[in-house]
Symmetry: C2
Subunit: 183 residues, 2 copies
Amino acid sequence: MKLYFITGNKGKQMEAKEKLSKINIDVVQKNLGYPEIQADSLEEVACYGVKHIQESFDKLFILEDAGLFIDGLKGFPGVYSAYVFHTIGCKGILKLMEKTSNRKAVFRSIFAYGQPGEKPVLFIGECPGTISETEKGSNGFGYDPIFIPGGKTRTFAEMQTNEKNNYSHRGKSLEKLMNFLEQ
Amino acid sequence: MKLYFITGNKGKQMEAKEKLSKINIDVVQKNLGYPEIQADSLEEVACYGVKHIQESFDKLFILEDAGLFIDGLKGFPGVYSAYVFHTIGCKGILKLMEKTSNRKAVFRSIFAYGQPGEKPVLFIGECPGTISETEKGSNGFGYDPIFIPGGKTRTFAEMQTNEKNNYSHRGKSLEKLMNFLEQ
């Protein structure tokens, strides 16, 4: 079975392709582009995207969205994580959290599965953790230097990809998608 | 002539109604709702909104969007001003700008005019100014307590509505819309 991944991110497609090949699904990248709306939750963003794509695309597809939700900042940067990273960055987040004792945060990923004429099916993966006091490590990307997964003492940026993947929010949502497709 | 203002904000509609009544235009509020996309500019957000509304609404209408763009924060909070206000607020902005010497900012408003089958016509109003060192004043709303319009020493929140309106970004974009409609 062929499954289109609507994304401009080759890395994401490769990750999904590798995983889903185990159940004989061929994940093909399709960079259609779709509007991401301003909303409070990843669910709303994903559902709007699916609906929009379905209007002009009649094959089976998936899309993915993710974000970092920080408790002490009322969920900020949330669905706007990419924009916030490119403006105020990790340094801005740390500044906002100075003297903040509640450092809980969660990385969240959502996969949406679209089928012609059907409502999207959603798969959510989460990685709870905390925001570090300073930036640490140089692996990974985005907020990795300031995110410590639950139960650990090192940031994602201080881990090798293999280790990080054990906790990955995207790994978890992808796993759920795979279980669904397998049945 | 009747002109629909697609907004959930009664205050905005009243402001436009008062102004445009001078040229015999009756501004009627219509709370249709439309998706606001994640984008870098107000122009993109407004154009997408107009296109979306035109799909199901065949009358003349306007919509408006606004934001605060801060130089030293690479334009943050920009088109996400409302979300950022409700999460990190004025205090968050001031924290991000600690030790930032470039305090330049601009309040920007855009009106989009939609006509059946036509591309939107856009009217932009700007109010340049600076971000104060502390919150001051209790009038107004949103970022008013930290925004000082160019050439002044007081924040918007320290001004009476009448005085503030002399500099208002929304007043300026509305003025441009009026001039256009008058011709």
